[in-house]
Amino acid sequence: MEASGAAARASRLRPRETARAGGRASTAVSVGIISTFLTVIVVLPIAALVWESKQSGAHAFWQAVSNPLAVAALKLTFGAAFIVVLINGTLGTATAWVLVRDNFRGKSLVNAVIDLPFALPTIVAGLTLLALYGPRSPVGIHVAYTRTAIVLALCFVTLPFVVRTVQPVLLELDTEMEEAARSLGARQTAVFRRIVLPNLLPGILSGAVLALARALGEIGSLVLLAGNIPGHTQVASVYILNEIESGNSAGAAAVAVVLLGASFVLLLAVGALRFFVTRYERA
């Protein structure tokens, strides 16, 4: 009934409005589908996590998250993730630049290598890095079981994010803009700072967000490589694992909620920053 009424109304509308009404209906359907999907896949598990963390009361929650070793693990995790985002934000962008703007032999091979960290199960990445940076390092780098190793492992697993988000932006970027600037006498640094960087920044930020989120949650590559000394080289994910393994799932959930909450704030902040740098595109 209602559908046929809507169809009758639609038939009286001019073509442009018909399109708009149809668009609105399909928007409602797609929003419905997407929000159901997100609820089942993301929101419900997170709600369950928060529920679990509240199980033993506010006092137990506070006790779990104020444990000095939990605080140390969280600090280490966020600190390492920040450093990793800075490194990969810079070098990942440079890598994308070289892959798009320069031509050299074996470029497609390098391009394929970028995605390898994604294909490798992270525990294998941990084993590989242990062989490389461990006591029997064939290249003489002995950083395993230190915080440096944590940063290196996280750089390894998050590298593809920045490269792969910046690459398509660079491909789209019209070089005519840069040529025009140069012909008007702008120096290379000015061209980069005033033309290239503003165009790339949204892509870099998107990649940085993905890399940050991944670095905060990473566990597989670190369990073998980090040494996991509480208070020194134990990251939040390993701390949480230990709590679960010792039967303290409420404590584990409490620390996980803090990790998740802080991540969410950080992701929102980067999102806001991205909104700010793209303000001219929307205008």
Partner: protein
């Protein structure tokens, strides 16, 4: 496909068997859920069990993994008929979940299938001269042991260190200080026993604290190192229990595992048999000698008072003694 295949294979065998017992057993599946290292031994036992009258027509599904994770999986509903885990504590987890009888340790041999002891693996030639517990806290000695909160096997290590200190005449306070000092020498607290072994055999540290049985299996696969059994050390008891709703063949298998021939298989693979008489066998003479390492103490010692008490005192995630030790290490 496999589900169809197994009955299809078993059916003719069952029909051929005249005995009613065999016919009743036909189609029985035993789900063995075990910790990781005894896999080779268990596979030998299972293939031999198939040739006995009790084992005819019984098929096995086998799952191997870290002991604590396996216990939690069973408690959460993973199908299991026999649990073979690395600490009695993990069986207590199952008893708490109601899937194993509370009095599981009243079974023959206390529900234990084999023993081991807490042992050290040192570098070839023992360059740091590590022979006993006190050598672990000598300057520059680097120790590898898993984190006792994530790994059941490390709980044995912690209690062994404390117990040995007490047995050497230290007070409770002094012994606790010794364990704290020991953990300041720990350079990698891995999440599991196998990760710790991985760390040690990839070159980190001077000594790995592990089970004697794990050490034998690691050294047998070509890793380089030497086994040192400290005096005294802690007896590790490896429980194998049938679950409440397991088929009768599961109990038959556990009885079979306690028979002298099967105990001899354990003995020849680095596990100390619970049926001690098998060590008098000629072909096990060299193993019998290896297992004569000196005094041991166990979890029922007055120092610990059984797993439940020891776990509460030492490894409660909020108030356990180990929490204090980890904080002292983390802050220092």
């Amino acid at each position: 496909m496999r589900r169809l295949l197994i009955p299809a294979l078993i059916l003719p065998v069952a029909c051929a068997c005249a005995g009613a017992a065999e016919a009743r057993q036909a189609g029985t599946t035993i789900n063995l859920v075990a910790y990781s290292t005894p896999k080779p031994v268990m596979q030998k036992l299972i293939s031999r069990f198939g040739h006995t009258s009790a084992g005819t027509g019984v098929s096995f599904s086998q799952s191997y993994g870290p002991s604590g994770s396996q216990a939690r999986a069973i408690a959460a509903g993973q199908p299991a008929s026999i649990a073979f885990l690395s600490t009695g504590l993990d069986i207590d987890t199952l008893a708490d979940a109601g899937v194993v009888a509370k009095n599981w340790n009243k079974a023959p041999y206390g529900g234990i299938a084999a023993d081991s002891v807490v042992a050290f693996v040192v570098r070839a030639g023992n360059p740091k001269h590590i022979h006993g517990w006190s050598d672990l806290v000598k300057p520059s000695v680097q120790v590898v042991t898993p984190n006792p909160f994530s790994s059941g096997s490390a709980k044995w290590n912690v209690l062994a260190a404390y117990g040995a200190a007490r047995k050497s005449g230290m007070s409770d306070h002094k012994a606790l200080q010794f364990v704290t000092k020991l953990f300041k020498h720990v350079v990698s607290q891995d999440t599991s026993g196998s990760n710790a072994a991985n760390t040690f055999f990839s070159g980190k540290g001077d000594v790995l604290i592990t089970y004697e049985s794990e050490a034998y299996s690691a050294l047998a696969t070509g890793n380089k190192g030497e086994l040192v059994v400290p005096k005294p050390t802690m007896l590790i008891e490896l429980p194998m229990v049938a679950l409440k709703d397991a088929p009768s063949a599961a109990k038959a298998f556990i009885t079979y595992a306690h028979a002298p021939k099967q105990q001899a298989i354990f003995a020849a693979n680095g596990y100390r048999p619970v049926v001690k008489s098998v060590l008098e066998r000629q072909n096990l003479a060299s193993w019998a000698k290896k297992y004569k390492t000196g005094p041991t103490f166990n979890i029922r010692d007055r120092l610990f008072g059984g797993w439940l008490k020891a776990n509460r005192v030492w490894f409660d995630p909020n108030t356990g003694r180990m929490v204090g030790i980890e904080r002292a290490v983390g802050g220092g």
